[in-house]
């Protein structure tokens, strides 16, 4: 088995808690800022409103003074200990509960009404161990998150999917061992391993990181403000908005000109625009990919070698889809099941011509979404 895909090892020592940053930058994506520069904010105060129905709002992770507002960030210089008023969730139900959770920064799109909830207790990508660390060291918070999730989703059945040999449990959940080799660690494939069906009706998966965020909301009545991420061999408990430079420094890593600073995992993650960018909610990993670590992507045509076709867990033809995207053949992309793609990134990982296959597929999906919205 390729070492790259082998299941991650033990999460190691307890997560190192980093101090709250002196300047926290909350990343925005699909939010409209609702504060202005110089404004004083309390910890947990709304700083930007979500523009999409399934997305949670953004809040100040520390109390202080706003010193930057732009399209991508709201930055707060820490000052004082003022907190927003906690929300009591106990009495809330159904739609009201959803709306309140959304106003507390929870992405409610994954919280569909279903009857079977699968908790994906696997480290979702190679090299990441933070999910299993959460299961080991933050079980009470996860339990609070699970109870809240079940209240929102109405799930009568709950299954916790774990890597073979991981001893963890959540009250009210059956525990199941499932294969833990990437891409089997992704939600749709974990659901398949648990239920034996592909995308079955009435089943949804939540990751441990999503539960951790929900758990913080359930415990404090305030927006989620911490995440645990794997950097190198260790895990760090980080306040949301901590600049990546501080996390890298704590882990003894540094980034130079041209390097990629990758948040989440190497297959599905995203790159930081600068070292000042804050860590977002739910980020589970951070790594530095040195400039020139591997050949750059090229605009070479597909050589039809079939490697992506054979490795694709969605059983689509990524090379063909990337060609459809390249030439704007959106209908052909739909006819070739572009919607089945789960964006695992393996196609571009194996591509000998270094085509940006996943990027092309995402581009076509985005264009299809825009077409659907414009109708």
């Amino acid at each position: 088995m390729n070492r790259m895909f082998s299941p991650s090892t033990d999460p190691g020592p307890a997560a190192m808690a980093l101090p709250a940053p002196v300047r926290a930058c909350v990343p925005l994506a699909g939010h409209a800022p609702r504060v202005s520069c110089g404004q004083a904010v309390t910890k947990g105060q709304l700083v930007a409103e979500a523009l999409e129905p399934g997305l949670g709002d953004a809040h100040a992770p520390v109390a202080g003074k706003v010193d930057l507002v732009d399209k991508w960030n709201v930055c707060v210089v820490a000052q004082g200990e003022a907190r927003a008023e906690p929300v009591d969730l106990a009495a809330l139900e159904g739609g009201t509960l959803r709306a309140v959770l959304r106003s507390l920064g929870v992405d409610i799109a994954p919280l569909a009404v279903i009857n079977t909830l699968v908790i994906n207790g696997l480290n979702s990508e190679p090299g990441v161990t933070s999910a299993e660390l959460l299961l080991r060291d933050f079980a009470p918070t996860l339990q609070a998150g699970l109870d809240l999730a079940r209240r929102v989703m109405g799930a009568s059945v709950c299954v916790l999917a774990l890597r073979q040999g991981v001893a963890a449990s959540l009250a009210g959940c059956d525990t199941r061992s499932v294969p833990a080799v990437y891409p089997q660690t992704l939600d749709p494939l974990v659901i398949k391993a648990v239920t034996g069906k592909e995308n079955p009706e009435g089943v949804a998966a939540l990751s441990v990181h999503e539960l951790f965020c929900l758990g913080q909301v359930a415990e404090t009545g305030l927006p989620c403000d911490r995440t645990v991420l794997t950097v190198g061999e260790r895990n760090f408990l980080v306040v949301v908005g901590t600049p990546v430079s501080e996390v890298l420094a704590a882990a003894g890593l540094d980034a130079r000109d041209g390097d990629r600073v990758v948040l989440d995992g190497l297959f599905r993650g995203f790159t930081a625009r600068s070292l000042g960018q804050g860590v977002d909610k739910g980020v589970y990993g951070l790594s530095v990919v040195p400039a020139g670590a591997h050949a750059p992507v090229t605009d070479a045509p597909c050589m039809e070698c079939g490697k992506c076709v054979r490795i694709c867990p969605s059983r689509v033809d990524p090379g063909l889809l990337s060609g459809c995207a390249e030439f704007g053949l959106l209908k052909q992309a739909v006819d070739n099941y572009i919607d089945a793609c789960m964006e695992c990134g393996l196609c571009a990982y194996v591509c000998p011509t270094h085509r940006p296959v996943l990027q092309y597929i995402r581009l076509a999906k985005q264009q299809l979404r825009e077409v659907a919205e414009s109708v």
Partner: protein, 334 residues
């Protein structure tokens, strides 16, 4: 990479960007994945060329300088042709990915060692022009490129392509010719060991059987080619010739003879596995291989050409788009 000054950075990132820390590095931003398996077209082709090396050395040992000359001519012509085509197409040259060299060498392996210089040049040039570049270059070939060049030569200059005819000085014989023109008794005396040791006339490299097989197994071991097409090809050939042989052993050669004579094993590993012209999913690959193998047997038994393997693969290539339609339902499809 050019390093950017902070003020330049602010211009690049736009106004209101995060204020860079003092001398903060300028990061690269890109889409995932941020890991790569490490293979490149060049590494794949170099692996394939390395797998050709044992048979190339054996060909040089068996036929001497003429064989080296044909291989050099084919390789060089392929590289030059591709470079010229790309110049004409207004493209950057990609000859340095070694694919054209590989195509040229595969063609050389199918030519007789006594091939005249113009035959090697015409064959290699038509392999690249008609087999690859007119379809847009690497990845576009509907037919295995080296076999296109081979077919052009085989149909245009049959005497020059005929190893038996063009190498009268050699004491070796071409077993498939003798089978075709003198019947199975004529090849009774040829043992499998002789064939394996390359004691047969044919393509200068394709007939170095043990070395070709070693190269093929190397390709499998390194994961450069998958087992489906070569195995299905040879299975199709053995099964089809086996049926004929069992039904009438007096007028047909044994399946083992068909397996070891001519270019079947070479074509199975090095030409049928050309990726653009063959399917990429497991079942279609197996069907493609079986079809090509069975067609090889049929052409050898009924056709006018002693060795049907290259033609059989070209015919099977035509089925590739149809075979590619055999595909599983995508994940989660109802």
């Amino acid at each position: 990479m050019q390093s950017l000054t902070p003020d330049k950075t602010a211009r690049v990132l736009g106004a209101g960007a995060l204020r860079p820390l003092t001398a903060a590095p300028v990061l690269t931003v890109s889409a995932p994945p941020f890991a790569h398996a490490g293979s490149s077209v060049r590494s794949l082709m170099l692996t394939s060329i390395a797998a050709l090396a044992p048979a190339a050395i054996m060909a040089a040992v068996a036929y001497g300088l003429p064989a080296v000359r044909v291989m050099a001519l084919c390789g060089a012509t392929a590289i030059i042709t591709e470079t010229l085509c790309e110049r004409l197409m207004g493209r950057q040259s990609s000859a340095d990915d070694y694919h054209c060299l590989y195509v040229g060498l595969v063609l050389a392996f199918l030519l007789p060692a006594a091939a005249p210089w113009w035959l090697a040049v015409m064959g290699a040039a038509s392999s690249i022009v008609l087999g690859k570049m007119i379809f847009g270059g690497l990845g576009g070939s509907p037919l295995s490129p080296a076999l296109v060049g081979w077919a052009v030569c085989r149909l245009s200059w049959p005497e020059a392509m005929d190893a038996e005819f063009s190498m009268l000085a050699s004491e070796l014989i071409s077993p498939l010719h003798h089978l075709k023109f003198f019947g199975p008794e004529a090849v009774d005396g040829i043992t499998s060991v002789q064939l394996l040791l390359g004691r047969q006339l044919g393509g200068l490299g394709a007939s170095q059987l043990w070395a070709v097989s070693a190269g093929g197994l190397l390709l499998l071991a390194l994961g450069r080619v998958r087992w489906e097409i070569p195995l299905a090809f040879l299975t199709g050939l053995v099964a089809t010739t086996g049926i004929y042989w069992l039904s009438d052993p007096a007028s047909h050669a044994s399946p083992l003879f068909h397996l070891l004579a001519g270019s079947a094993i070479f074509v199975a590993f090095f030409a049928a596995t050309d990726e653009p012209s063959s399917p990429s999913r497991v079942l279609p690959m197996l069907l493609f291989g079986l079809l090509a193998g069975a067609l090889t047997a049929v052409i050898r038994i009924y056709g006018i050409y002693p060795d049907g393997a290259p033609f059989a693969v070209l015919l099977a290539n035509l089925f590739t788009p149809m075979l590619a339609r055999i595909r599983p339902k995508p994940f989660g499809a109802r």
